[in-house]
């Protein structure tokens, strides 16, 4: 800490270093690419949100009044596809990860800047193909594309949608590849593995899943498309094919994909909990290694999606047991976060509110996952709203909350402006209430036997469905508020100092927004992760940055 001398501040930064559309579309700067991603995933999140609204509105009444069955099938399918493949999977890694991985390890950029830009273009191409499929007539197979319905019976745009997802997969692979190589080869002098922020460990683990899992879904979708176009029979039971093989291959990727979504979120939460408690995280190496353990164990549990799909009972037992095992590293994280909070001087800024919300909701999501991992219970709960509620607790209550928390936390670094704290806390509260009101009733609905993917239901379920729709409306408002005030803050927000939270991490030791090469010099790291100096010393670092002179 004492050897640290802050760089000479200059007001040239990555945003105003160059102007014009071309300077953005041809940029190789990881920070600018992160912003390109931020814009595009927000767009897809909005589309996915519209589909969610349509679903909740239709379910307000027991009859089919807004949507007919065929339309409803398309709406929930497209909600799932857009949200999973075009929002949740790239969300944190491609935006915050892209922005912060090089900065946190003291590098000038990712190892392959051109490949990084390429991955954004691939993402956009995949997105355009998928949007085309949706506009041309949509797809109605469910986001899981189960055969033989998707190959033989569905009359919708399965191949075009599959192609979009196939293309998009390469963007995910390239991002993961870039992170792994960057973290291995580009760490600043002194930045040892055990000095890495936990955000980096989480992204490393995520990247492992991206490169090991994504190729398998790529080949699976390719086989599915050929099957549909040329009627070859690889998944067709009528000519000796095996539809369960499709499910094995699909979930070999798609279960670990859940950890692609939630691991980066856990990385953010580790940052937020430690930094807003102003304390080193409890059990650093346990949290770091639990990320890797989740990446490995995540590949051993996919069969719990096949418990009622004619999978062998013995395989079911193995998968059930392994699914329980994956709860261990997740629980380690939750325990360590709570232990960090113990006797800490916690500040309840907006990011921390999201982090605390995450811990609660992720715990509920994880615990209900254990119900589903239990063989006998799953027979009752399979394909009900219990499952829907469970995975929304992980994906929305987990990933989305972490994403919003991280976005607020690094917003001053990204834009050089502070977001309005009052609005931030207010909307965090609205999101939390809206989310729980949406999905808690769905656990009960599922337990009572309401199946997923139905647009009509018995009248006795209506009260719970109305509650859920009301919650979704609140959640929608809670998500729109940040959209407005964050955009407002880019122009009118208070100018952010280099280190507004007074933290020791490397990304806070440069100006906000950072210069194109992140640091004026390659930093030499002499401190441990989350090593909070005595209060007076931290103040000095912070004050220096507050005094960054405003050049015209």
């Amino acid at each position: 800490m004492e050897t640290f001398v802050p760089p000479v501040p200059s007001r040239i930064n990555y945003i105003n270093a160059q102007y014009g559309l071309k300077s953005w579309l041809l940029t190789k700067d990881h920070k600018r690419i992160a912003l390109l991603y931020l814009g595009s995933i927000s767009f897809f999140f909005f589309i996915g949100g519209l589909y969610a609204m349509a679903i909740r509105l239709e379910l307000l009444t027991p009859q089919a009044d807004l949507l007919q069955s065929t339309t409803y099938n398309k709406v929930f399918t497209q909600h799932g596809i857009i949200m999973v493949f075009f929002f949740l999977i790239p969300s944190i890694p491609a935006t915050l990860g892209n922005f912060l991985v090089p900065m946190m390890i003291g590098a000038k950029d990712l190892a392959f800047p051109r490949i990084n830009l390429l991955s954004w273009y691939i993402y956009m191409l995949g997105g355009i193909v998928t949007i085309y499929a949706l506009l041309a007539g949509g797809v109605d197979t469910g986001w899981t594309f189960y055969t033989p319905f998707s190959t033989t019976f569905s009359n919708s745009y399965v191949v075009a949608t599959g192609l979009g997802i196939f293309i998009n997969g390469f963007s995910s692979i390239l991002t993961g590849l870039n992170f792994i190589v960057t973290i291995h080869t580009m760490r600043a002098p002194g930045m040892t593995w055990f000095r890495l922020p936990l955000f980096i460990w989480a992204h490393y683990a995520t990247s492992l899943i991206m490169i090991l899992g994504t190729p398998v879904i790529a080949i699976t979708i390719l086989l599915l498309a050929f099957e549909r176009v040329a009627h070859i029979g690889i998944f067709d039971p009528a000519v000796g094919g095996d539809p369960v093989l499709f499910q094995h291959l699909f979930w070999f990727y798609s279960h670990p994909a859940v950890y692609i979504m939630v691991l980066p979120g856990m990385g953010i939460i580790s940052e937020l909990i430690a930094n807003f408690s102003r304390k080193n995280i409890f059990g650093y190496s346990f949290v770091a290694f639990s990320s890797l353990a989740i990446a490995v164990f995540g590949f051993l549990v996919w069969g719990h999606h096949l418990f009622v799909a004619s999978q062998s009972v013995y395989a079911g037992m193995i998968f059930s047991f392994l699914s329980f095992a994956v709860a261990i590293p997740s629980a380690i994280k939750v325990f360590n976060w709570t232990a960090t909070l113990y006797k800490a001087s916690i500040s309840y800024d907006t990011p921390m509110l999201y982090a605390l919300g995450f811990i609660g909701l992720f715990t509920i999501g994880g615990m209900t996952g254990l119900f589903l991992a239990a063989l006998a219970v799953d027979v009752h709960l399979s394909d009900t709203y219990f499952v829907v509620a469970h995975f929304h607790y992980i994906m929305v209550g987990g990933t989305l909350l972490a994403y919003l928390g991280g976005l607020h936390y690094w917003w001053p670094k990204i834009t050089g402006r502070m977001y309005p704290e009052g609005w931030g806390r207010f909307s965090a509260l609205v999101v939390f209430i809206g989310f729980n009101l949406t999905f808690l009733p769905q656990f009960i609905l599922g337990y009572m036997g309401m199946p997923r993917r139905y647009h009509v239901y018995p009248a006795e379920f209506q009260v719970l469905h109305v509650l859920s729709t009301a919650g979704a409306s609140i959640l929608g408002v809670g998500l729109l508020i940040p959209l407005f005030y964050l955009m407002w803050s880019m122009r009118y927000g208070k100018v952010a100092p280099g280190n507004p939270w007074h933290l020791p991490g490397l990304e806070w030791r440069t100006q906000s927004p950072p210069p194109t090469e992140n640091f004026d010099y390659t930093p030499v790291v002499t401190w441990e992760a989350y090593e909070f100096a005595p209060p007076e010393e931290t103040e000095v670092v912070g004050k220096f940055h507050d005094k960054v002179p405003e050049k015209a």
Partner: protein, 95 residues
């Protein structure tokens, strides 16, 4: 760390070994070994050939330990894919 330059002699001998391996695997294919031995022989030869390519042509023998770990992890994950999928197919008839 400077890179290791593999002598030409090594490349030539690996090339010859691979050619011999190909000939042996073709000849072995026409022999009728009992039971699963046909597959075992063919796969053993293929694994040996692939290992030679990886170790010498791809320089893994002289590479950092990280590269070893990467190669091993790819095989490990292939193992997961096969083992757990076949934990289903092989046990279906048990009940």
């Amino acid at each position: 760390m400077s890179e290791h330059i593999v002598p030409v002699k090594v490349y030539v001998s690996i090339f010859l070994a691979l050619m011999v391996g190909t000939a042996v695997t073709v000849l072995a294919a026409f022999q009728d070994f009992p039971g699963a031995l046909n597959v075992i022989v063919a796969m053993t030869i293929a694994v040996v050939k692939a290992t030679l390519v990886v170790l010498y042509f791809m320089h893994v023998r002289y590479s950092a330990r990280l590269i070893w770990v990467i190669v091993a992890s790819a095989l490990f994950w292939m193992g997961i894919l096969f083992a757990l999928t076949f934990s289903d197919y092989w046990t279906r008839g048990w009940l």
